[in-house]
């Protein structure tokens, strides 16, 4: 059911862990729905993501999408990171089963939420591209169930 890429990122996830000196942290999802992703970013003065780590509670696809998303944004500018789409995550994994596509949405939102946190910590206005929700929705809305 999963591609070899998904299995690879599930069994050997890249960038697992935490960053003590992260200056942008984003968490999305909730335990009730069965997946939570937390992404830590270390962003330098040139707004380049020099390091990234993640922690994820969830299924094989949730872990694999988190892993590949961290690889896709590492070394990139935060502006580039904000252009990461769930579609690109799915393509990079050579596809996901339809019921697992929401995991890629979660990965995209975890990155955006972490970047938004970076802007907030600096007291800067959060760009529209980094806003994933107004706080009244949760991951369940993407799952299509409550």
């Amino acid at each position: 059911m999963y591609s070899e890429k998904v299995i690879d990122h599930f069994t050997n996830p890249r960038n697992v862990g935490e960053l003590a000196d992260a200056n942008g942290v984003g968490e999305v999802g909730n335990a009730k729905c069965g997946d939570i992703m937390r992404i830590y970013l270390k962003i330098d003065d040139n707004r380049i993501i020099t390091d990234v780590k993640f922690k994820t509670f969830g299924c094989g696809a949730a872990i694999a999408t988190s892993s590949i998303a961290t690889e896709m944004i590492k070394g990139k500018s935060i502006d580039e990171a904000l252009t990461l789409t769930n579609k690109a995550v799915v393509e990079a994994l050579d596809g996901l089963p339809p019921v697992k596509v929401h995991c890629s949405v979660l990965a995209e939102e975890a990155v955006k939420t972490a970047v938004a946190d970076y802007y907030r910590r600096r007291g800067e206005e959060v760009p529209a591209a980094a806003i994933v929700c107004d706080g009244c929705c949760d991951a369940c809305d993407h799952h299509g169930h409550h």
């Binding site: 697992v16 335990a31 009730k32 069965g34 939570i36 922690k55 299924c59 696809a61 169930h145």
Partner: protein, 290 residues
């Protein structure tokens, strides 16, 4: 069972659903309370497929008899795993399917106590005393009878299966903190273990188990097309979070003590590996430290 009852509801029958307790067991007194003057049938699963709970069928059938209500039980998970005797149970009807005991797929059994009136399932031929028209599949019937004979002869081995299951259960509870057994530990099929591990998700557990050559199943939503966790686990009050991290192991006479040793040696490290990357685990551990 639920789908058959829903079908009756669509035909205009009224169905009362009796709740189970937190171990998944039905209280016969609750069944008695639910009986109305116009109740015609009590239908209950003898053993649950997910948490292995064995229901007090004999007590419930006695209540049915007292109130003149027919009692039916679906014993598909029980036959071959625990003694099933229609005289002891006192039920009016009992069904099971052949494939669960390695009989050919496509044949099952419906026991009907003498004196219980049942409308013909398929009209036409006079086969099976007019209750199910159509030429009998003799080869399948012979196969099922033989499978039943073999399964019944093996029932004494279930004591060994139960001992293995109990060792697996205790071993996992001892080795893995924040784990809990779902369902009743006594009124349970000998080979069934359903156990939940906090802070991790079932499908990722299954993927690691599968890679290690261990076959189990999960109540997690992430392993189903519906994305809904097991309704059985939710109905016994298991929170969504824990239902997601639940595994079911089914042991049989084909399993060995070495299999139990292997699971006990393999699963704790898998759970820990996934907990180490779980944001739920680190926040909970941080709270405990505080």
């Amino acid at each position: 069972m639920l789908h058959a009852l829903e079908s009756l509801e669509r035909d205009g029958y009224e169905v009362t659903y009796v709740d189970v307790n937190e171990n998944g067991v039905i209280d016969p007194a609750d069944v008695e309370k639910a009986i109305r003057p116009d109740t015609i049938l009590i239908a209950i699963m003898m053993a649950n497929n997910e948490i292995g709970t064995i229901q007090p069928i004999a007590e419930i059938a006695a209540i049915g008899k007292q109130h003149g209500v027919t009692t039916f039980t679906d014993a598909v998970q029980a036959v071959g795993n625990t003694p099933v005797n229609v005289a002891d149970l006192g039920v009016d009807m009992l069904s099971f399917s052949g494939h669960k005991i390695h009989a050919p797929k496509g044949i099952g059994v419906l026991y009907i106590r003498t004196g219980t009136r049942v409308r013909s399932l398929i009209d036409g031929g006079g086969q099976e005393r007019g209750r199910r028209g159509g030429t009998e599949n003799v080869a399948f019937a012979v196969g099922l009878a033989k499978a039943l004979e073999i399964a019944t002869a093996r029932l004494p081995e279930m004591a060994r299966v139960k001992a293995m299951r109990d060792r697996l259960m205790q071993g996992l509870l001892d080795k893995i903190p924040y784990s809990r057994v779902n369902g009743d530990t006594e009124k349970r099929l000998d080979g069934n273990l359903n156990i939940g591990f906090e802070f991790v998700e079932g499908e990722s557990l299954l993927m690691w188990l599968d890679a290690s050559g261990i076959c189990a199943s999960t109540g997690s939503a992430c392993n189903s097309a519906s994305l809904e966790p097991s309704h059985v686990l939710l109905s016994i009050g298991v929170p969504h979070e824990r239902a997601h991290g639940s595994l079911r192991f089914t042991l049989s006479h084909e399993n060995t003590e070495e299999d139990v040793d292997y699971i006990l040696a393999t699963l704790p490290a898998i759970v820990q590996r996934l907990r180490d990357m779980s944001p739920l685990y680190d926040s909970s551990m941080a709270r405990i430290k505080d």
